[in-house]
């Protein structure tokens, strides 16, 4: 009756989200008086997970799992869950997890809850809280089937360090053939990935022209943050569509979000309202972004941002 945690890796490396999944699963196992078991696929160093409290790790190395297909990952997780005799599987929301979680729920005959933001509020019936209406509301949902898959929202639970020593069991999995074929993968390197970023600096039409993003990029650099933009800015082509955060763009949940020259239309707020701290800088003191923000400055970005860069540099020294 253990808890199985899928700790995803990218080219063999874990990310903060992998540790967040482990932290959630370990706490859930302790609440349910059972053991937490982590599953890793093609990870360079599975033992890294023992820093987050998991004492048993199943490690799968398989060339055919280097390319992702929902059906093969769903089949793998179902087989390992059955082998372990577990009924509860914990994963964290990423591109690949969101892709194969539904297939897993069908293959394993499991209840699937996505966007989960807290530990279960009750175990019988098994009830979790999740985001609905673009985080304008939360809902309690009961997972009615015996098998359960929980997909935790990014940066909603946090990472908890807890050093233990773990046993690693190599498992040689037979993998069902992928029903899609990967032809080409393009991943931008060097830049901080917006979905993983702990801090995000975002700007809107208030910046007036694309060349004015130099100061936004500089602020992002001193903060070690990713850059983002509002929808109008990506629609005009000042910034790439990959940077658009909002309802139809990326939905992000960083620890710190700067909205600079962004009025804060409801569609924008829907994509950023899971951020822990929101800072707004806008010339219009009635801009709706101030309703969503924790800290605000009414002022001109061209005046405020350079000062902000200087003060943050001072702080870091």
């Amino acid at each position: 009756m253990s808890i199985l945690i899928y700790a995803e890796s990218w080219n063999g490396k874990f990310k903060k989200s992998s540790f967040e999944a482990v932290s959630y699963g370990v706490d859930l196992a302790s609440k349910m008086n059972t053991e937490a078991v982590a599953l890793v696929v093609n990870a360079d160093d599975a033992t890294e997970l023992q820093n987050y409290g998991v004492s048993k790790i199943i490690s799968v190395s398989n060339q055919s799992l280097k390319e992702f297909a929902s059906n093969s990952y769903a089949d793998l997780l179902k087989n390992i869950a059955d082998k372990e005799g577990t009924h509860t599987l914990v994963m964290l929301s990423t591109s690949n997890v969101n892709s194969f979680a539904p297939a897993l729920s069908i293959a394993w005959n499991a209840s699937l809850a996505t966007g989960v933001i807290a530990e279960p509020s009750a175990l019988n019936p098994f009830t979790v809280n999740r985001k609905v209406f673009s985080n304008k509301a939360h809902a309690d949902v009961v997972l009615s089937k015996e098998n359960k898959v929980l997909v935790i929202a990014q940066n909603s639970y946090g990472v908890k360090e807890n050093v233990v020593s773990a046993s690693v069991e190599e498992y040689s999995a037979s993998v069902v053939e992928a029903n899609v074929k990967s032809e080409k993968v393009e991943v931008s390197t060097g830049k901080i990935n917006l979905m993983d970023a702990e801090k995000v600096v975002s700007a809107g039409r208030g910046l007036k022209a694309p060349e004015n993003w130099t100061m936004i990029e500089e602020l992002a650099e001193v903060l070690n943050a990713a850059t983002a933009c509002s929808k109008p800015v990506s629609d005009i082509g000042w910034r790439s569509h990959n940077e658009h955060v909002g309802q139809t763009g990326k939905n992000i949940a960083p620890d710190l979000y700067f909205a600079i020259g962004i009025s804060g239309a409801i569609q924008h707020v829907a994509g950023i309202n899971s951020s822990k701290i929101i800072v707004a800088i806008n010339t219009d003191d009635e801009a709706p972004i101030f309703k969503a923000a924790d800290y605000g400055i009414v002022g001109d970005a061209f005046d405020v941002v350079p000062k902000l860069i200087a003060k943050i540099k001072e702080l870091k020294e």
Partner: protein, 248 residues
């Protein structure tokens, strides 16, 4: 080629969200409903495929009669016909099971849905229905090309893109990027007139299985008032972010 596009009937983004019946149900009073924003991108892409490859385009929704205006809007945009499965669905599995049956019965080659609905945000229906029908599935799709019985699909991945190939029948979950914002379709007067005469068939539900039960809704606690700092005192903001918010 036969394309099935799933149309979500959701509260307009600007709606004030309220609950009723002791916070166990969404309160639809006074709510304006629209096509789910992500579905607008898949519908526009399906229209391009229809025009280029003379595909037949059917739209589907699982809902009561109140969702028909939303389906009519999709017909006005250019779909050939619509199917409504007559059920007020309780969870994603119910919706997916019903659409999976419509997809099989109609012999569709391509089933397209938005990556998630902006009401319940589950993001599950497209993947569930693909698995129920044992069809390949690609999520978060930003590019799609069909050549005969083969599809080339581009999906968004963490930090980049991946190009895949798959055979039809195929299920994709689309999002912005599948077409550009300018390529979205707005119904014109002629489309609206024609939509009135296009077939909208109602089929009775057959699925019985559910996996989730929504028991209670709540609004998150209201945020504390935004702390305002003077533009002449940026240092104070840095200090607050460092010492109070512990975010720097």
């Amino acid at each position: 080629m036969k394309i099935l596009v799933c149309i979500g009937h959701v509260p307009d983004t600007t709606s004030k969200i309220k609950f009723t019946n002791n916070d166990t149900e969404f309160d639809a009073t006074g709510i304006q409903y629209v096509i789910n924003p992500h579905d607008e991108f898949t519908l526009a892409k399906a229209m391009q495929l229809k025009e280029k490859q003379s595909a037949k385009l059917v739209v589907v929704n699982v809902g009561l009669v109140s969702t028909e205006p939303t389906l009519r809007k999709a017909l006005a945009i250019g779909a050939d016909s619509a199917i409504r499965v007559n059920l007020d669905p309780k969870d994603s599995l119910t919706v997916a099971s019903e659409i999976a049956k419509v997809a099989l019965d109609g012999g569709f080659d391509l089933i397209m849905a938005g990556k998630e609905s902006i009401d319940y945000n589950g993001g599950m229906v497209p993947g569930l229905l693909a698995s129920i029908n044992n069809m390949p599935f690609v999520n978060a799709v930003v590019g799609l090309d069909i050549d005969g019985a083969k599809a080339t699909v581009i999906r968004e991945i963490d930090g980049g893109k991946e190009t895949l190939s798959a055979n039809l029948p195929l299920v994709i979950a689309g999002q912005k990027g599948l077409v550009t914002e300018e390529e979205l379709r707005i119904p014109n007067m002629r489309g609206i007139m024609m939509a009135r005469k296009k077939p909208l068939s109602v089929v009775e539900p057959s699925a019985t299985e559910t996996m989730l039960e929504f028991t209670k809704f709540e609004k998150p606690e209201a945020k504390a008032e935004c702390k305002m700092v003077s533009a002449d005192n940026v240092e104070e903001l840095v200090d607050l972010l460092h010492n109070e918010a512990k975010a720097l």
